[in-house]
Symmetry: C2
DNA sequence: CAATGATTGACCGACGGTCGGTCGAGAGGT
DNA sequence: ACCTCTCGACCGACCGTCGGTCAATCATTG
């Protein structure tokens, strides 16, 4: 095979990108290193030159997705002007990881990928919590919220529940269950934040 | 090998029990079907006679653990007399899945087992939520709580956060992080339930 | 042109899973 | 009580696949 030499950073990025696509299309366990080397037109050893195991490659893919997600969210917060509630609203509507990773999410819904999924959730969550914490603090300062606990812990608390309970990846919730929960979220969040009733109605947009 | 015939239920239970032990000791991926057949003194085909895949066996193990857990908790609720807060306190102190599955939990702390772990959490959670929902309702009726949403959704919301955020299995939180969160839980829960400040101090017992 | 290190691909051992076949036990006939 | 006959629990050699290894090879750089 014709030998192609690339700069290490480039090759590394190529591998992560291809892995991300394949994991998204076929799942982690459903993707073989052979699939990956064929996709990349690269020998197996090359991949193992950059990642010492498939597991480590998964780690890199997860961080890649998470980093992209958090950057997008930070950008949204920065470009949005207004009070905390306005910023939160903008963030929520654009913040679903699912939207920009449609096929990935579809794969994550297979229970075999629960591991990959849970780990991705955990990383994304920690990053998002820091972001929301700032907004909660702002809202508190603006008199919109009455927090009972530090902003970061409050953000972690709320985000964790919403992510896990709305995510069909780890456990296949039924449609009714999801609806039932979605309807309860506004009240739950308002209560937790001490926000005005109705201020989080946007969490469950009736159509 | 000497052939031993058992009643199907017995053999099935034996397999689940042994699998539970081995998964607990070495993790799901760290346990081979060969290990299992050696432990059971049984041929590989026998295991596959009862479970069509390793994956399906995992499912059975998870349900086995979850069932045992929920039965213990239901028993505790039944034998405890008093108001909702008293029952909740009893439940929490005995309800940690970790306590009665020490080595299992230790294994779950390996990120390779995130899948097994997340799925177990999901099942246990759904069962526990139903139980706590009853107590939240009782507390509401007794005037101890002021719920902002239906009891079941409230229970799911709270339990999910606490389980996920205190569990080191999926993402290895640091000790400080765990402490920081534990300190915030009482306030967060009280706020969510509309309970008297201090009534959930038992969630974070200072030593 | 030598040194470096990126790249190759044949090779390996372990693993999950299959399948043709064996054998014990209970049902039903005599 | 004894003998079949049938069912399905049980066996284990075998298979294909997969993650991972490594010595050789080749492009690039100084």
């Amino acid at each position: 095979m014709t030998r192609v030499v690339k700069k290490p950073e480039v090759r590394r990025a190529d591998i992560v990108e291809a892995a991300r696509d394949l994991f998204g299309a076929n799942g982690f366990e459903g993707t073989t290193m052979h699939d990956l080397m064929r996709e990349l037109n690269v020998a197996k050893g090359t991949i193992y030159h950059y990642f010492k195991s498939k597991e480590e490659l998964l780690e890199a893919v997860i961080n890649n997705i998470a980093d992209e997600s958090i950057k997008r969210m930070e950008f949204i917060v920065d470009e949005t002007t207004g009070d905390a509630l306005t910023k939160i609203r903008a963030l929520v509507s654009a913040g679903r990881v699912a939207d920009n990773n449609q096929d990935l999410m579809q794969q994550l819904h297979r229970s075999t990928n629960a591991g990959m999924h849970a780990r991705l959730l955990a990383v994304v969550l920690q990053q998002q919590a820091a972001l929301y914490a700032k907004l909660f603090q702002q809202g508190h300062d603006e008199g919109l919220f009455q927090l009972a606990a530090p902003p970061l812990e409050t953000a972690e608390f709320i985000l964790t529940s919403i992510q896990f309970l709305t995510d069909e990846g780890i456990f296949p919730w039924t449609g009714e269950t999801l609806l039932r929960r979605a309807q309860a979220f506004p009240s739950l969040v308002e209560k937790q934040l001490g926000a005005r009733p109705g201020s989080f109605d946007f969490l469950f947009p009736r159509m």
